[in-house]
């Protein structure tokens, strides 16, 4: 099925002391979108707006081509949510939770849920409060994947997890988008996870959209020019997104790494990873 899983247009949420300012981005079907930004950048606010948890000030959100408020129930039947911590009643067991979810999601598939519980090695009759954090996240995935969801939304779901469980989760996400009708919005601080699985990266800083690009385009094109003061002074400042001065050397983030390599042969030009890009935008100087 062609089209976009999620379209966010000019999304604005004004809290008075924080403004999510005209955010726009799109997740095509079959893609994993990474949502990055520092703490308080507006990632969770964006997700809360998408889920209609909070009222937006302005803008429009469409999911599977439908308005996220007018067609709320239809849309939410097709969304799986995994938050940063457990949100299930922790006095329930996975079996009881499944029974509750069967009465909430119209497409609930109990056999699928049981399979996930077995696959994730989750005890069926143990109370959720006795689960480890990793087990709780896996349970959230089991719920999110057992009602024919077409869009998974992860809000810092992998933070605080060990690398083994995080790797398991990344595998789940890759499996999920094998069906090209399925998409993922993945908000995280762990950019190395995004480098492994994301197709697109959307970067928010202080409530503003910095960019929303295909990940490969970012990794292939962005670069860090490492040079001395003389080369730095000679550089075309319009090419520099941000720079950082460290002792006697300058590090400058540029959009076109290959162009910089040719133009400044005396400088060292390294590829930039998502972490570098984020750091330069947030902590780098621009003037």
């Amino acid at each position: 099925m062609a089209g976009n899983a999620l379209e966010v247009k000019n999304l604005t949420k004004d809290y008075g002391d924080f403004l999510l300012n005209k955010l726009s981005f799109t997740i095509p079907r079959g893609a994993i979108m990474g949502l990055i930004g520092e703490n308080g950048a507006g990632k969770s606010t964006t997700i809360n707006c998408i889920l209609n948890e909070i009222t937006i000030t302005d803008g429009q959100i469409t999911i599977f081509g439908k308005d996220n408020i007018l067609d709320e129930v239809f849309i939410k039947n097709k969304i799986g949510i995994i938050f940063d911590e457990n949100h299930f009643p922790d006095v329930l067991t996975p079996i009881e939770l499944g029974k509750c979810m069967a009465g909430i999601y119209s497409n609930w598939q109990n056999r699928e849920y049981q399979n996930y519980l077995t696959q994730f090695e989750l005890p069926l009759k143990k109370k959720i409060k006795d689960f480890s954090r990793g087990m709780k996240v896996k349970l959230a995935f089991a719920v999110a994947l057992s009602h024919n969801a077409e869009l998974l939304i992860l809000d810092e779901a992998t933070s605080g997890l060990d690398p083994i469980i995080r790797d398991d989760i990344l595998d789940i996400l890759i499996d999920f988008v094998q069906d090209e009708n399925h998409s993922v919005l993945f908000s995280t601080h762990i950019t190395s996870d995004l480098e492994k699985v994301a197709d697109y990266v959307t970067f928010i800083h202080k409530g503003k959209l910095i960019f929303s690009h295909p990940k490969d385009e970012l990794i292939d094109n962005y670069g860090i020019v490492i040079c001395g003061a003389a080369v730095f002074d000679s550089m075309d400042k319009s090419e520099i997104i941000a720079f950082r001065k460290q002792d006697f050397q300058y590090k400058a983030l540029v959009r076109n790494r290959r162009k910089a390599e040719k133009k400044y042969p005396k400088a060292i030009v390294e590829p930039a990873n998502i972490d570098d890009i984020m750091l330069f935008y947030i902590k780098g100087e621009t003037k």
């Binding site: 948890e53 938050f83 009643p89 979810m101």
Partner: protein
């Protein structure tokens, strides 16, 4: 909605300690033994009232375990989430009234003056009182969280005082009022519950939406 109600029952099962049920049973038994037929009527009347704290307990728990946030992400509108809570409470009140009715009928086997009609009347009255109190508890719970219970208590006392004041102010003859109320009890109960229920639901939706927007 079914899943939301089911979740409330699971939480209730876990949050209300078995010792509480044992205490309730013991108290009911003591009242029955000591007051005999009158005690059976008291039990029918007030047993459903024991339930009124349950919605508040569950609401506080929902906030603590962050279910509130998750619930909004589920395929249920805010109105459905609220409606499910009212339905849950109504089911509880019905079940408790049936239990109290059964107790009353059982007591009737031992105390001859306790008729089936009396048991029906007292059980229905208990159901109406519980429902009325629940309709006050739910919106105050959404508005004030853990403090909702105390506020409901204050509200109930103020309501009783206001009614007493009005009756005194207009020199209403209490005996004839009681007779009139008894004659039209079922109609009055339905009308009052319907009006208060509608206001209570609207207020709950308003407070819940305000809290989660």
């Amino acid at each position: 909605m079914k899943g939301l109600i089911q979740k409330d029952f699971y939480v209730m099962r876990e949050r209300i300690r078995p010792v509480n049920y044992a205490l309730i049973a013991f108290a009911a038994l003591a009242v029955l033994t000591y007051f005999r037929s009158v005690g059976a009527m008291y039990v029918s009347l007030f047993l459903p009232l024991i339930l009124v704290g349950i919605p508040k307990t569950i609401m506080v728990y929902d906030t603590q375990c962050k279910w509130d946030k998750f619930a909004i992400a589920l395929p249920a509108t805010r109105k459905t989430i609220i409606a499910s809570r009212y339905l849950f409470f109504t089911i509880l009140a019905v079940v408790m009234s049936i239990i109290s009715f059964a107790l009353c009928v059982a007591a009737g086997l031992f105390f001859e003056e306790l008729t089936l009609a009396l048991c029906v009347k007292f059980s229905l009255a208990g159901f109406v009182i519980a429902l009325f109190y629940g309709l006050l508890t739910i919106p105050t719970g959404y508005a004030l969280g853990a403090n909702g219970g105390s506020f409901t208590m204050m509200l109930s006392v103020m309501l009783v005082l206001a009614i007493a004041y009005i009756l005194k102010k207009f020199n209403v003859d209490l005996e004839s009022l009681a007779l009139w109320l008894a004659n039209y009890a079922s109609i009055i109960s339905v009308v009052v519950l319907a009006v208060i229920g509608a206001i209570s639901y609207k207020l709950s939706v308003y407070f819940y939406t305000k809290l989660h927007s």
